[in-house]
């Protein structure tokens, strides 16, 4: 790529947050009319890099050059003005305004009377859309459009800002194959206009279809940048994950226990399809896959938080109907959710109140609480889980992530469950607490509980699981025992790359 063709250059970008170096000396460049894909696992730094580019974050070190000139992007609005537009997975659109109004919100054209010139706005909107081969009724409300059409509105918005660089974050995750094809032809039109596209995606196949170049990030660093024609899918996957397993995990348990939980043909339209597996007592079953593959949805359905269209759940061999979390809890299930601050804890309540939350009824008699029993149980659990808090009445919102997670766990241990499901158990937790939680999980398993562990961290999945299931786009695509599993195999199954 010659100098004059480069439109965007990010040089030596570093960005740190408390406790984590999100980006380290990352350099990235994109040429006019080029589609440059950015790939990497969850937590590799992709979204941080995007946010530094569009101005949501300021880099600690490094510089950004647009068209050869250094720019300081202060905020996303200024970034848009400079020509850097971003389309996130969650669109920034007004549901009850029409397409044209959304494109020109805040910059509505006016006529001589100072009133909004709807005709001009509509015709301009149509022109922008047609420029890249999109056709929409610009008078329709956003809420009446399909996801793919809403995305077109976002693209038209970027065009209206005369974008030089368009960042697209997982643009196809909610599109059908047909809609993806349409998006690709739109992207090719954008390329024809000289607009550079930074394309972030987990879908390796699509990257090979649409991108000219690809940059792989891992743990905040650039692993490599290659022309697409110079790599193949396998090599790319290798670049994404190649790391040594240097973390120590607790020793795995013995296998061959009774089956405690069976899922049979679980399906819910739009979320997952035909999920069947067995979970044994004393086993840690890892459930791996990319974000959006449907793992959380399966766990929530098993826990009664969401419904299923078809399927059966068996506990200890008996078919059960789990219609609500209440049912699940009564059957001996527990769920440590993905989002502990919002789903796992009542953040403003104390450690004690959270701990006894699931078993309040069993504590007291009739309508009354039994504060003494609650306190006893809490003290016991705090000590056995080694939760660091000044007192049992301490507000959980003040604890560290690791300790909060332990409180969530203690909620289920006040009445030992048969099955505990963990959704991203150590996300956002420091190394020390991570290890403690891993030990706790293995201890629970050794005591006979069946553990389902959803995790996007490959080392954790491989280090903790006795068996690994992989989901992709709502289906089970992999089933490996601990012995046969490798990062490569799991990642390949998760991304759909053939070995």
């Amino acid at each position: 790529m010659t100098q004059s063709e480069t439109i965007l250059e990010m040089r030596n970008i570093s960005k740190a947050f408390p406790g984590v170096q999100a980006l380290q000396d990352v350099s990235f460049e994109c040429g006019r009319g080029e589609v440059h894909a950015l790939v990497g696992e969850n937590g590799s730094g992709k979204s941080t890099l995007v946010k530094v580019l569009n101005g949501a974050y300021a880099p600690d070190t490094g510089s950004i050059l647009l068209d050869g000139h250094e720019v300081k992007v202060k905020d996303p609005k200024q970034g848009k003005g400079l020509g850097i537009s971003t389309i996130y997975q969650e669109f920034e659109l007004e549901p009850y305004l029409d397409v044209a109004e959304n494109i020109f919100l805040g910059r509505e054209p006016t006529n001589r009377l100072g009133l909004v010139d709807f005709r001009k706005m509509h015709s301009e909107a149509v022109r922008l859309l047609n420029e890249v081969g999109m056709h929409l009724d610009v008078r329709k409300w956003i809420t009446d459009l399909s996801v793919s059409q809403q995305q077109m509105v976002e693209i038209a918005k970027a065009l209206s800002f005369r974008a030089k660089v368009l960042v697209m974050d997982e643009p196809t995750s909610t599109l059908t194959d047909e809609e993806t094809d349409r998006l690709f032809s739109i992207i090719r039109s954008l390329q024809g206009q000289g607009i550079a596209v930074v394309y972030i995606s987990h879908r390796i196949k699509e990257v090979f279809e649409i991108a000219d170049r690809v940059t792989v990030l891992r743990d905040g660093k650039v692993v490599g940048t290659e022309m697409i024609r110079n790599v193949d899918e396998t090599a790319l996957v290798k670049m994404m994950i190649g790391r040594t397993l240097d973390t120590i995990f607790p020793e795995k348990g013995e296998q061959g226990g009774e089956v405690v939980l069976s899922a049979r043909h679980l399906s819910r339209k739009g979320a997952f399809d035909d999920i069947s597996f067995d979970l044994q007592k004393g086993e840690i079953l890892g459930l791996s896959g990319l974000v959006g593959s449907g793992r959380t949805e399966v766990a929530r359905t098993l826990f009664g938080a969401d419904r299923m269209d078809r399927g059966e759940i068996l506990l200890d061999g008996r078919a059960v109907k789990i219609r609500s979390p209440r049912d699940a809890v009564s059957f001996g299930l527990g769920l440590v959710p993905e989002n502990r601050r919002e789903e796992g804890l009542v953040i403003c309540l104390s450690v004690q109140k959270n701990t006894v939350l699931a078993v309040l009824e069993r504590m007291g008699r009739f309508l009354f609480r039994n504060p003494r029993r609650e306190r006893d149980i809490t003290v016991q659990l705090v000590s056995s889980l080694d939760i660091k808090c000044p007192s049992c009445d301490c507000e959980v919102g003040l604890l560290s992530g690791g300790n909060q997670q332990k409180v969530v766990l203690s909620k289920w241990l006040s009445a030992p469950p048969k099955v505990i499901m963990f959704d991203e158990p150590t996300r956002g937790i420091d190394v020390g607490a991570k290890a403690e939680i891993h030990i706790l999980m293995r201890t629970l398993a050794n005591k006979g509980a069946g553990i389902l562990m959803i995790s996007s961290e490959l080392p954790e999945v491989l280090g903790m699981s006795d068996r690994i299931l992989v989901m992709r786009e709502g289906r089970l695509v992999g089933d490996f025992s601990a012995q046969e599993a490798t990062e490569q195999k799991v990642m390949a199954a998760a991304t759909g790359v053939m070995q």
Partner: protein
């Protein structure tokens, strides 16, 4: 998963419901006609010239305050202070006017000014200090209400001139003057909401405040303007009431608080923000006014009045909600 998708391949019955909800104005207008017909059957004096003029005058005052309320609701806000602002405008204007023709203009301006001042106070507390709309306007409602009760000692005060009474009690041909005042404000509000940038921004702020902010809409000023308008219109409605009642009365605007919200919501405004319109609110006001009138003519007990009113409001809102796209 993006939550703004709409379903394709939707069954016919749902599509009809959706259509009805979208063109809700037609639905509620039909309801209005039905109510008129039923009332006429049960109380034949309903369609007499005198009664219609009466209902029209009542409706005008409610209609004016409801315009402001609708604007507030569209912006994802609510103005619970409209009743006491209306009362205060009337009380102050009556006190200043005391039957002197020379004081009509100053009294009117002062009355309207009090509405603007309270609206500004509401707007600043809500938009700049970032307190919840409900709490702020509830507080101003209580404060102003209390102020009025203390000032008037619970008695009526002041007086108006016959000239002033004309704005409500007069006629232009067969049509009461108050209707012109109401429709005048309504037309201006209609143009404001539909054809001005600020008006469109009111919808944007109510629909998705964050998107509006990111698009460069000045959310703070927009919200302040909304409450100033609501205060101003509440005061104007209060002056219309004064013209009817001829004296300043401390509980004059009492019904406005909930009726203006009911009229707006029946008219299609969503309490979740971003949706609503003047035409719908006009029909909503007509429905409520006809209901009130029918209760008087037929002689329905107070208890039944509340029940019937509540039922009508719930029914309309429920049908609307069903027609809305499922998420």
């Amino acid at each position: 998963m993006n939550t703004m998708t709409s379903a394709k391949g939707v069954p016919a019955r749902t599509r009809i419901m959706q259509g009805l909800a979208r063109h809700g104005e037609i639905l509620i207008f039909l309801l209005f006609l039905v109510l008129c017909a039923v009332t006429e059957m049960l109380a034949p004096e309903f369609l007499s010239g005198r009664n219609i003029a009466n209902v029209a005058r009542q409706a005008s005052a409610l209609g004016i305050v409801s315009i402001g309320q609708t604007i507030a609701i569209i912006s994802l806000g609510i103005d619970l202070s409209v009743s006491s602002v209306a009362t205060m405008a009337g009380v102050i204007a009556a006190t200043v006017m005391v039957g002197k023709t020379g004081m009509v203009i100053p009294a009117t301006l002062l009355g309207l000014a009090t509405g603007i001042v309270v609206g500004l106070a509401n707007g600043l507390l809500i938009a700049k200090v970032k307190l919840p709309d409900f709490i702020v306007t509830l507080a101003t409602f209580s404060a102003v209400d209390g102020l009025m009760l203390v000032y008037t000692q619970g008695r009526s005060v002041g007086s108006i001139t016959p000239g002033f009474a004309f704005i409500s009690e007069g006629n232009v041909g067969p049509v009461p003057t108050s209707v012109f005042v109401w429709l005048g404000f309504a037309a201006m509000a209609f143009v404001f909401l539909r054809y001005t940038r600020l008006g469109r921004h009111v919808f944007a702020v109510g629909g998705n405040r964050e998107v509006a902010r990111l698009s460069g809409v000045n959310v703070i000023w927009t919200k302040i303007l909304v409450y100033v308008l609501s205060g101003f219109l509440a005061a104007a409605a209060g002056l219309m009431l004064l013209a009817r009642m001829a004296v300043g009365y401390p509980l004059a605007g009492q019904a406005f608080q909930l009726d203006s919200i009911a009229a707006s919501v029946v008219g299609g405004a969503s309490l979740f923000g971003g949706r609503g319109g003047i035409t719908g609110t006009i029909v909503g006001v007509l429905i409520l006014s006809v209901l009130n009138n029918s209760f008087n003519l037929i002689g329905v007990s107070t208890f039944s009045q509340f029940v019937i009113k509540g039922f009508v409001i719930i029914a309309v809102v429920a049908i609307r909600a069903r027609g809305e796209t499922r998420k």
